[in-house]
Symmetry: C2
Amino acid sequence: MMSPMSEPAFRRARSAEAKQAREAAILEAARELGRARGVREVTLTDIAAAVGMHKSALLRYFETREQIFLALTAEGWREWSAELRGDLARRAQATPAEVAAVFAGTLARRPMFCDLLAQAPLNLERNVSIESVRSFKLVTLEEVELIGGELGRLLGLDELQSVDTIATATGLAGALWQMATPGPRLRELYTSDPRLGHAIVEVEPRLTRVLTACLTGLGVRSAAVD
Amino acid sequence: MMSPMSEPAFRRARSAEAKQAREAAILEAARELGRARGVREVTLTDIAAAVGMHKSALLRYFETREQIFLALTAEGWREWSAELRGDLARRAQATPAEVAAVFAGTLARRPMFCDLLAQAPLNLERNVSIESVRSFKLVTLEEVELIGGELGRLLGLDELQSVDTIATATGLAGALWQMATPGPRLRELYTSDPRLGHAIVEVEPRLTRVLTACLTGLGVRSAAVD
C-alpha cells in the first residue's frame, strides 16, 4: 500500500513530466516555425498559436521569445558539436582542408543553427535573465573545449588557436548565412542586376575556403615556432 | 539682370541645399545616438527628437529608420576603405601579419561601423526599398574592388581570395563586436563567473590573429600553385 507521503511525490513527478512535455512541445513549435520562416519572423504569439496555448500560459514555461530561441541555440551547439566531433574522431589524421570541409559542411547543413548563431549575440542574449545567459554560455564553452580536443589531436592547435578557429567558423557561418538568405525580394535584385553578382553569397564554399586558409596559416605559424 | 527663368532655378537650388542640410542633420543625429547607445537601441522617434523634427517630417527625407542606418553603413564602408587603402598604399611591401593588423586596427577603431556590419544583413537591408539596397550594395562592391587592388599588389591575392578576405574581415568584425559588447549586465556576468572567462571577446587581437592565419594560408596555397 502507498505510504501517505508517496502520493504528493508521485504527483510532483507526474507534474514534472507534464511540464517537460509542454516545454518540449513549445521548443518543437519554435523550431519548426524558425526553420520555415527564419528566426526573425517568429513571434511569441506565433509559437503559442502553433502549440495551442495562450501566450500567458506559455510564459509560465519560458521567460521570453528570446529564451526559447536561446535554448534552441544551445541545443544546436550540442548537436552540431556532436556530429563534427564524431566525424573528426573517426580520422587518424586530417589535412587543414579536410577539417575545414567538415566544419563548413556540418554548419551549412544546419541553416537554422546558422541563423541562431547570428541572432544570439545581437538579439537573444539581450532579452533573457542573467541565469539563462549563464547556462547558455556554459553549454557553448563546454562544446568549444570538446571540439578543441579534436583540433589539438589532428592539427596540433593550442587552446587559443582552437578558440579562434571555432569562433571564426561559427561567427562567419552566422554572418554568411544572413548574407546568403536575404529573402526572395533581394535575391531577385542580386540575380537581375549584373553589377550585383558578388552580392550573392554561398555559405559552404566560402566557409570551406576561409577555414582552409586559416587552418593552413595556423599550421605554418606553429611549424615555424617548433 | 536675372532672366525670368533663373528665379525658379535659384529656388530649386536653395531648396535642394536645404534638403541636403536636413538629411545631413538627420544622419548626424543617428550617428551620435548609434555611437552612444548601440544601433539596436535607436528608434526613429529618438532620431526625430534629437534633430528637432516631427517623425512625419523626417519620413519625407528617409523611408525608414533602417534606411538611415543603411546610409551610415555605406558611409562607414567608404571611410573605412579609404583609411585602410591609404595605409596599405604607403607600403611598398607587407607581410600577411602586417596587412592583418591594418585590417583589424582600422575596423576596431570604428565600433559603430562594426555594429552596423552585423546589423545590415540581419535588419537594415530588410526594411528598405529595393533601390536603397541596390545603391548600398554598389557602394560596398566598389570598395571591395578597390581594397582588392591593394591585396593583389601587396600579397598577390586573386579576386576570389580578396573577396573572401574582405568578407571574413567585415563579417567577423561585426560578429565579434556584438560578442564583445554584450552590455554592462552581461559583462558583469562574464567577469564575475570564472567559468565564463572565454566568453569575453576582444575584437582587435582576435581579428588580427585570424586574418594573419588566413592571409598566411592563402599565400601558402598561392605559392604551391605557382
